[in-house]
């Protein structure tokens, strides 16, 4: 159990006991200090011949007389001064001053006692002293009357009583003294630790209070200390133990654990959404490539056959279909990275080229065909880096990507091949997931939970952004597939007439033009990026991309 807990648990049990113990110790110690003062200052008022006896010179017989007749001392009480006019064993008037109060016995009357601190006032009338116990009262009661020998003795005793009363220690004085002292110490921030320690030691030695009682006293004093009480209206120890955020590690850990759980839930969902989005983008890229193979690939093979046959008016034909020469020559400038020739084929439909030509197409221009009809190998397997690069390079010939064309540009356009590119796309589009999510300095529970709350809020916002990207992907996918369907239909209509294509035939030209326009559309759709050149939603700088890429790749 910590010191604070121990103190709290025992305080209620020891509080009264401790206080009484303190008071008695204080009284005895203070009186001892003052006894000498009293003796030194008052003793001369009485001489032994007046039957006054002072410590340490009180005869034992006198002590015995008073103790046997009217004086009953407590354990910590001591006699200081006695007046005893017993003569020949006959006790007449006698009174005694102790460290706590005044004892007296009148002839033929019972002994009486009054505590110094209970005496509010003493009224002298001739040779009589009346003790007033109530504040504001002047009633003279016989019960509290002391009759002396004469007026002079009454005056002497009155003065002596005054000395004792003034120097007696009562409960209020104890607390007032301590409170005043504590106030001085606590308020005085100029005091050094050494100076405070010196004051403490001095008082502690004076009061001779044990540590347990002392701690309890300080608890009471500080709990009633105006400075603290006015500042926060709390008691010292209860506030310490009640300050969950500061001292209760369990509560702080609980808050942190709850914050951690919340953050993990949000992070998991964000990762899940990102994975779904990446998958969606990847699927779009795959479908797009597939569509190109089945449409553009087939159409280009038709073009080649037509070109071979009608070379002289080939470009007229192309011009008529709004197929710019640059477009076609662009195809011719692509470099093949491998010499492997692949077939263009479809696994379904009636226009499998292999069925028409009977032999694999030999591509003389720089366009690559991807297919797997003859071998049965899946397209994914065939789409090795070398084979795909050609298509990607062709696709990347547009004005989309930073840095110009080539394979890298093609990858960006497809945005489904490379995870890095996909990650950039997915995260860059949020613009709202900041690096502050990963604040490493969360030392306080509230600060930590607030940081987590803000981070989770940002992640929620990123979900909206990711949904936006998903909708964009869906939009392009739908449009592409719609045009793809139209291309397939037109290719099916065009295919039968290719072997006997007649440029003079209006029907042939119409079929060709419709097909060419749709093929051109799908090839342009394939070049459309998901985002603008900056590839983010908010239009912020690339720094957002870089930062969020870091987050995605390393920490989320």
């Amino acid at each position: 159990m910590s010191f604070l807990d121990r103190l709290k648990s025992t305080a209620s049990e020891l509080i009264d006991k401790g206080k009484d113990q303190v008071l008695s110790l204080v009284e005895s110690s203070k009186i001892e200090d003052h006894i000498n003062t009293i003796i030194n200052t008052s003793r001369d008022k009485f001489i032994k011949e007046d039957d006054f006896y002072w410590v340490p010179d009180i005869p034992p017989s006198k002590v015995s007389n008073v103790l046997n007749s009217y004086v009953l001392l407590d354990e910590d009480e001591q006699l200081i001064c006695i007046y005893d006019n017993t003569l020949l064993g006959v006790v007449k008037d006698s009174f005694s001053f102790s460290s706590k109060g005044f004892y007296w016995r009148q002839f033929l009357k019972k002994g009486k006692y009054i505590c110094y601190r209970d005496i509010h006032k003493i009224i002298k009338k001739e040779n009589e002293l009346y003790f007033i116990l109530e504040e504001g009262s002047n009633e003279l009661l016989d019960e509290w009357k002391l009759t002396l020998v004469d007026s002079q003795q009454a005056q002497q005793v009155n003065e002596l009583l005054f000395d004792f009363i003034e120097n007696s220690i009562n409960e209020n004085q104890v607390s007032n003294t301590l409170e005043k002292w504590v106030k001085t110490i606590v308020l005085d921030r100029e005091l050094t630790q050494e100076e405070k320690s010196a004051k403490l030691e001095e008082l502690q030695q004076t009061l001779r209070i044990d540590s347990d009682s002392w701690s309890i006293i300080i608890e009471e004093i500080i709990s009633a200390y105006p400075h603290i009480r006015s500042a926060r209206d709390i008691s010292f120890f209860s506030k310490i133990t009640g300050k969950q955020a500061i001292l209760d590690y369990k509560e702080s850990n609980k808050i942190k654990a709850e914050s951690d759980a919340k953050y993990k839930a949000y992070s998991d969902k964000t990762e899940s959404l990102q994975a779904e989005l990446n998958s969606s983008i990847g699927e779009y890229g795959r479908r797009k490539l597939e569509s190109l193979k089945r449409t553009l690939g087939v159409f280009l093979s038709y073009l080649e056959r037509i070109e071979q046959k009608y070379k002289e008016n080939y470009y007229e034909l192309m011009d008529g279909c709004d197929f710019p020469k640059a477009y076609v020559s662009e195809l011719g400038q692509l470099n093949m990275n491998n010499s492997e020739l692949l077939k263009t084929a479809t696994t379904t439909g009636s226009f499998a080229y292999a069925a028409v030509a009977g032999v694999p197409l030999v591509v003389k221009s720089a366009v690559t065909y991807l297919g797997a009809a003859s071998t049965g190998t899946s397209i994914a397997t065939l789409s090795g880096a070398a084979s795909t690069n050609a298509i990607l390079a062709w696709l990347g010939g547009g004005s989309l990507a930073a840095g110009g064309g080539g394979v890298a540009a093609g990858k960006i356009v497809l945005a489904g091949i490379s995870y890095t590119v996909t990650g950039i796309v997915a995260i860059a589009s949020t613009g709202l997931v900041a690096s502050s999510i990963f604040d490493t300095k969360l030392t306080q529970a509230l600060d930590y939970s607030c940081e987590v709350d803000i981070a989770c809020e940002k992640m929620e916002a990123s979900w909206v952004a990711m949904d936006g990207i998903n909708r964009r992907v869906t939009e392009l996918m739908d449009v592409t597939l719609n045009i793809y369907d139209k291309c397939i239909i037109q290719l099916a209509q065009l295919e039968p007439i290719i072997p006997q294509f007649n440029t003079k035939s209006k029907e042939h030209l119409l079929a060709f033009q419709k097909t060419a326009l749709l093929i051109k559309s799908i090839s342009e759709l394939a070049r459309v990026p998901l985002f603008d050149d900056k590839m983010n939603l908010s239009g912020e700088s690339e720094q957002v991309v870089i930062n969020t890429r870091k987050i995605l790749n390393t920490e989320l």
Binding site: R189, L517, L525
Partner: protein
């Protein structure tokens, strides 16, 4: 917090009442100071959190509203273009087909998020009290 705990541990180890009280008074002073500091700090943290979360939510709501409206409008336009294209194919109208596909491709190429960037730029301009020239 660590300072307080350490101080408490010092308490527990001390048998000297002078040192105990000295530490207690020091702790009392520190507690008061820390309380005031921590309360201020917490208020600042909560206020900061409220501001940031409000800003994030505003952005999120703006984004949500913008995306809903934009994609709904685009979907409607794509449908219209497909009607034109289908009609052109059916009627063998090459010119109409060319125009329809061209419009379709232009819309597809236009980023649906472009308007958001413009909104952000407008918002920034408004924040910066940019002088607009009409």
């Amino acid at each position: 917090m660590n300072d307080l705990i350490n101080m408490g541990m010092q308490f527990a180890d001390q048998n000297n009442p002078v040192a105990i009280f000295d530490n207690l008074v020091t702790l009392c002073n520190d507690i008061v100071t820390i309380q005031e500091t921590e309360i201020t700090k917490r208020e600042e943290i909560l206020a900061d959190k409220a501001v940031k979360i409000e800003a994030i939510r505003s952005q999120k709501e703006l984004l949500m509203e913008y995306l809903n409206k934009t994609f709904d409008e685009r979907s409607e336009n794509f449908n219209k273009f497909f009607e034109v294209i289908d009609n052109a194919i059916e009627k063998d109208n090459i010119q109409q087909l060319s125009l329809g596909l061209d419009s379709l491709n232009k819309l597809a190429a236009e980023s649906p998020f472009k308007g958001l960037a413009d909104l952000n730029a407008l918002g920034t301009a408004l924040d910066n009290k940019t002088e607009f020239d009409f």
